[in-house]
Amino acid sequence: MADEGLEALISPQSVAVVGASPKQATVGYVLFENMANRFKGKAYFVNPKYDVVEMWGKQFKFYKSISEIDDKIDVVVVAVPAQVVPQVLEEAGRKGAKAAIIISSGFAEVGNKELEDEVKAVAKSYGMRVLGPNCIGVYNAFTGFDTVFLPAERAGRPPAGPLALISQSGAVAASIMDWTARRNIGLSVVVNYGNKADVGDVELLRHFAEDEKIRVVTIYIEGFKYPGEAKRFLEVAGEVSKKKPVIAYKAGRSSAAQRAVKSHTAALAGSYEMYRALFRQAGIIEASNLREMFDMAKALAMQPLPKGNRVLVITDSGGMGIQAVDMLEGLGLEVPEIPASIQRELRRELLPFAATTNPVDVTGSATDQHYKVALEALLPTAFFDMALVVTLMQVPGLTQNLAEYIIDAKRLRKPIVVVNFGGSKMVQDFTKALEDAEIPTYSTPDRAAKALWALYEYAKIRGVVRT
């Protein structure tokens, strides 16, 4: 059952933006522009300074207060000075809004805890959920609901797709949005909870677990703030990770225990170690940086899970193959030898100087066909659980057709990742064809290896690994 308040926060149908403004280069303006031009639901703008505003060839009515709006309101977006926020929430509550997103800062983060407590109390008395204060709120690519007050021309908005992000930091969330937008990574929903007066990681995780469109949840976290919070997180995350992959990146890792301790154990259990323990226990895959988080998320969103840890490596560059093996083995994955009987078969179809051991080196003289032969002869066998394919498209014999062969191998229901880099039009088209068909591509072998590792880790969490 989806929580009504959370639903209103993330996918509202009608929104009131309090503090919207036609004055350019202000937060109120960006919110106005976002909601007026891209939101697919109904947006109402509240600011007593304006009456009717003409912009982008359209007329917009500005309301003096929320109560003037003659429609039901799901969520109120609040971007007014902190002192006025409780009063706005009071109005939102009377209007029957299910949730409020408080963009405004000037609360607990600057020591103004009483004002934050007041906000909490008002919201609670009306049964309203609160996101923030001091946050950038929500970006929802499906509906165009967007409270991110960084202008879209400066901070990109990612396309709709299978990923969601929960971020403790607003700035980090915005930079991830920009980064994923430029790489065309489908990050549909981004939520930043700021001071976490009410809604935080736990509720958001639970919400995304229920959202069928979200296939992988990513979390950027710096630290919990409430007593017992880790335990609630464990309970919910432990359930969610059985349904869909959750990947977390924890910033702030200085491992020395900060408190004064007398025992051996306490000296070992620094705060970061506890987060790591929590992630493992909850079945959350830990990323060691943001790029890695999305490298893994992409694979988990696109590929099936492996039944074991044995990787077939096919490459047209010996050097790239060696790098892939180093990384894979370092991560605890296996790169097993190919039985002699199978190698004999392969040798008949590959070039005379090709390596028929694992990694299979089809060499720089390879054609698309050689990859097809190696993939079809080896990946469907009982010897391999997944494949890492290095395609340096710079060699003369390869064509765009290779993408079709690799995509065709999806029917084998074993994970495939591709390493491919370069700036030429051909490489870009090739990458696009693969990614459009949900074959994840990476520019280096270590990133592709880590993506396969994540698939294997999640296969273990889901208990699909043959033992």
Binding site: S263, H264, T265, A277
Partner: protein, 232 residues
Amino acid sequence: MSSVIARARSEGRSKLLEHEAFELLRAYSIPTPDYGIARDEGEARSIAEKIGYPVAVKVVSRQIVHKTDVGGVALGISSPQELERACAAIKASVKAKAPYADIEGFLIQRMVPAGLELIIGAVYDDIFGHVIAFGLGGIFTELFRDVSMRLAPVDEDEAWRMVKEVKAYRLLQGYRGMPPRDVHAIVDILVKFSRLIVENPEIKEADLNPVIALSEGEGAYVVDARFLLGTP
């Protein structure tokens, strides 16, 4: 709350005495070597006769936190003569190195045969609650920080995962001529210890150090234990 913890708290102590720690462990069926508390050398001798040599002798004092540092421990004592000498030496050393400490007596403990030394512990954190830790003793935890942790409670499955997670797990499985250790017994201690911690939330920090894992089928023993209590 267990009765030993209640007693320590009523006396305003934040640390359990060693024999109280063993009493607590026994209440949860966690194996410890046989022991007895002696007020003097004479009692020490009769306890040693009863539990059998070789024994370890440890000073009992409310004021001493690190017994080894003040020469308060003697290991591998195998005869009454040795036992007498050990008690005298401990007394002399403690008097010299910790003159402020009252010596209440000696803990006489049956020596556990050589095995692989492990650490099991717990620590309380406001945000995480009680966290249980497991690692191999010595440099594995101190230098390499090769430790696995979980939020309490830890059930049997989770305890297995904790044990298998440390890199030193290969040593437990038997490595280069060393025998495989009784991993089931370790998992059993972890699960019981987790229950002990959950049912006694007053415990702020705990170290079972060392836990000695014997060969397969011979079990594991907690040889030394320390419990620190939080403010109520």
